[in-house]
Each structure stands twice: as structure tokens, then as C-alpha cells.
Symmetry: C2
Subunit: 294 residues, 2 copies
Amino acid sequence: MNQSLKEKLRQYQQRVESAIDVYIPSAQTRPVKLHEAMRYSMEAGGKRIRPVLILAASELFPSDASPEAAAVAIECLHTYTLIHDDLPSIDDSDLRRGRASCHTQFDEATAVLAGDALLTFAFQLLTRAYRDRPELACDLVADLSEASGSERLIGGQMEDVDNEGKPIDAEMLTFIHENKTGALLTAALTMGLRFCGPSEQQIEQITEVGYHMGMTFQIVDDILDATSSAEVMGKPVGNDDAAEKSTYVALHGIEGAHAEAKQHTERAIHAAKALGGNNTFLIELIEELGSRIH
Amino acid sequence: MNQSLKEKLRQYQQRVESAIDVYIPSAQTRPVKLHEAMRYSMEAGGKRIRPVLILAASELFPSDASPEAAAVAIECLHTYTLIHDDLPSIDDSDLRRGRASCHTQFDEATAVLAGDALLTFAFQLLTRAYRDRPELACDLVADLSEASGSERLIGGQMEDVDNEGKPIDAEMLTFIHENKTGALLTAALTMGLRFCGPSEQQIEQITEVGYHMGMTFQIVDDILDATSSAEVMGKPVGNDDAAEKSTYVALHGIEGAHAEAKQHTERAIHAAKALGGNNTFLIELIEELGSRIH
């Protein structure tokens, strides 16, 4: 990443961190354990990609409302999915972002409830912050809830859990990625653009940006997974172990995955250019998401 | 319950059952297992008190939008809390309403995700149904999310889980009941009244109805629990076993609990009368909730 983009990204991430601190109830709020768990997971860091995308999309055209609360809401949504995914009955992960996962740090009941609370809080926050702009609030609630519902994000997670350890075909892999990862990334862009009072056509255009960006993001993740496990294992990439995981690399090989990522990056940039506006930062972000493998 | 109220209630419950069938995605929706679990839990029956309260409150004054979708949304919210409460890490209940609980019928991962999906669907449905009335949609999302958030419903559940098996004082018991049970019952009334374009004062009045109705509901539940367990155990009510549970009966004795329930019922009716409008059915419902013990 070049220094100028790195610095710009750092500033956006800082805006997100500050907004999280402002909007999430304090850890002293009753019940203390629940709010400690919510804050613990929200403050675990991460790249804050979804809230940064909201901020970037909100700046494509002029707007007259602050997108920070929406940025925090989508991070609450994302964080709840991580807390519930880590539960013993789902992925059973003790670690998240290098520290104890929520149910390990607290207990399983608290992790279930903290996840529920962050999911609910996303919608509390959207209506608290934008109630004087009811059409905007309504669009934001609709975008976020549809993207994270049973036919999108949770649906992708359900198929992922149900197919764990089984060989899956390209269609299933695409279903999982489009929904488990892609839907919320796309929602980040549409939610951001809502602040600019967009036309239906502009929403369609940014949805196309989101689709290709989401696919790039997931394919690159798969390539990084395959590459890093190869380094760790001392084996070449594309080995049998990798083939047992359901990834783009397993299905299409490392070269095929690279080619797919490149194509999706190009299409995302093409759609972002068609949309126009102040799209420099958005295009830089798309390039960065695609270039993590180079 | 007199026959006329019984028949009226049955008609309202039938409206709720039909609306659930219309609005909840079909069990054939992909992922099938997830949508089967959502429908399984939504179709488990129950008294449908919260959605019936929405319908009753929406009829207090003239309105020009149909409250059925909001009624289904609050039942989705309530049902998700039951699914998550039953999980092994929380109440560990294999049975719910006389049949297998969601995680027993399916599996634990599916139950976590089906609960998440119903919680999310409540907000999808509110914005799908009322997007052409954005102020109404926004108020409904705000009422529902605030009532079920970390400082109300989930907060009450957290304190309940954390105090299980411990002796608790009257203040804690009130906190748990006001939030775990009372908040959503009150939200049912405010959400219903939103369809009538209420004044702030009317919202305050119906909130008072909800508060006292919620307290009545919970105290009566505690009395019924104590009475039925006494029958099962062949011991008099108010025994030591009951005292180890944190209930109104344990804290105030059976006579004290009766007196409290009666007082809250009277106050709820008083507030409903002050509110005015077509309040006959609402008052009948309040009386019925209070009279289950007589």
C-alpha cells in the first residue's frame, strides 16, 4: 500500500474508532457484564472495512447528514456475526483477532446475548441517529436487514456450516461467498450512498461495484489462506490439503483464482468509474483489496 | 374467560396465524434447513399475546395502514428470544410448548442461526411492509429495537441468567421482570398505537398501560408457577423450594403477590380508560391477563 493511501485509510479508521467509542453504551451500563462483552468485541480492532466503505460511499456526492452512526451500525452487525460464528456449536474458535473470542473471555451465554445485543443495537442506532430523516433511516434499516437476513448473510453462514468438511461445487461456493461475505460489503456501499439521496440507477451501479468487490475480497482471502498455509506446511500451494477446503483455490487452482480476482477487480473499478462523483478513494480501496496478493 | 371474549380472542389469534403464514419465508426457501427451523419455531403456537396486543392497540383510534406485518414482526422477535433462551448454554430446555425446542429438533448451530434470522427478519419485515410510510416504519423499528435491546429485554435476560440459583432482592427481581417481560409487552402497545398517528401524550399513556399490564402478567405467571409446582409436589404453596426461586411469591408471599397483581391490573385499566378510544377489547385483555389466577 502506498503511504498516501495508508495515511488516508488510517484517518478513516480513526473516525470509525472514535464513533464506536461515542455510540456503543459504556461498559458500566447495566448489565455490566453484557456491555463489557459488547465493548470487548467491538474494540477488538480489525480493519473496519465495512464502516470505512460506508464513509467512502457517503462522500461520492454531496450529503447533509453524518454517516458515522451508520458506520458503527454496520460494524455492530459484522461483530455480532463474528461472536456467534466463534461459538462452540458453530466454528468453535477460542481466538479472534489474536485474543480470546467473546465466549472464551466471558462465557457462552454472555456471548450469545452480546451477539444478539449488537445485532439489535445496529437498528437502535440507525433509528436513534436518523429519526429526523425517516426516509433515510428506513432505507438504511432495509439495506442492512436485507443484507444480513436468512436469504443473504445468515443463509450463507448456514450453508457454510452445513457443508463443512464436504466437497462442494462451484455453485455452492459462490452462494456461500456472495451471501456470507458479499452481501454486507455491498450493503456498506449502498448505505453510504443513501446519504447522497441517490437515484435507483445509482443504487444499482454501486450494487454492481459491491458485488465485484465482494468477490475479489473473498477470492483474495482464499488465495492468502492457501499461500500462508503452504508456507506454514512447507508444501507447494494447491496441494491436497487445500483441495479439501472449499475455496476458489481448490476449485480453480491458484492461477485461476488470481485471474478471477483480477477480473472482478477490473469490473468493480469499471462500475465505480461509471458511477462517477468523488470516487478516487473508493477506487483506491478496491485496488487495495485486490492487490493484497501481489 | 367468558365465551364472547374467548371467541373474539380466537379471531385475533387466527389473524395472527394467517399473517405469520403469509409473511414468513416458506420452508422451501434456500437454505431449507434454516427456513424450516424458523417456521418450526414460529408455528409452535402459543397465545400470540404480543401480536394480539398490537392489533388491539391499532384499533383504539382510526388508522389507515394494516398492522398485521408489525404483529408478525413482534412475534418473530419474541420467538427468537425463546429459541436462544432454550439453548444448552442458557436455559438448556429440550422442550418448548410441548414439543422439541429448536436446537433439539434441528441442532445447536441451526438454532443459533434461526434465532438470529428471526430477529433480523423482524426489521426486514417492518421496512418491507411500511416503507411507503417511512415515519411509521421508523417509529416501529425504534420501538421494537429499543424494547429488545441490551438495556431492556436482553439486559433482563442477562441478569436473569447471571442470578440463576442465587437469592435476589426485590430490586433485581423488578429489573428482570420489567425488562425481560415488560419491555416487549409495552412495545406491542406502543407499536399498535403508532398506526393511529398518536400524540406524545398518548404514547406516554399507553406506555403506562403496558408497564402495569407487564407487571401483572409476570406476577400472575409467578403465582401460577408456585401453585402448579405445589400441586405437583404435594406441598403447600410458599414452601422453601419456591423461596429458592426468584419470584414475587418467594419475595412477597402468595397473598402479597395476589395484592400486587390486583393493584397493577387496576392501574393498567385506569390508564387504558384515560387513553380512551375503542378500548373495550384492550381492557378485556388486561382483565383476562390478571384473572388467570382466580
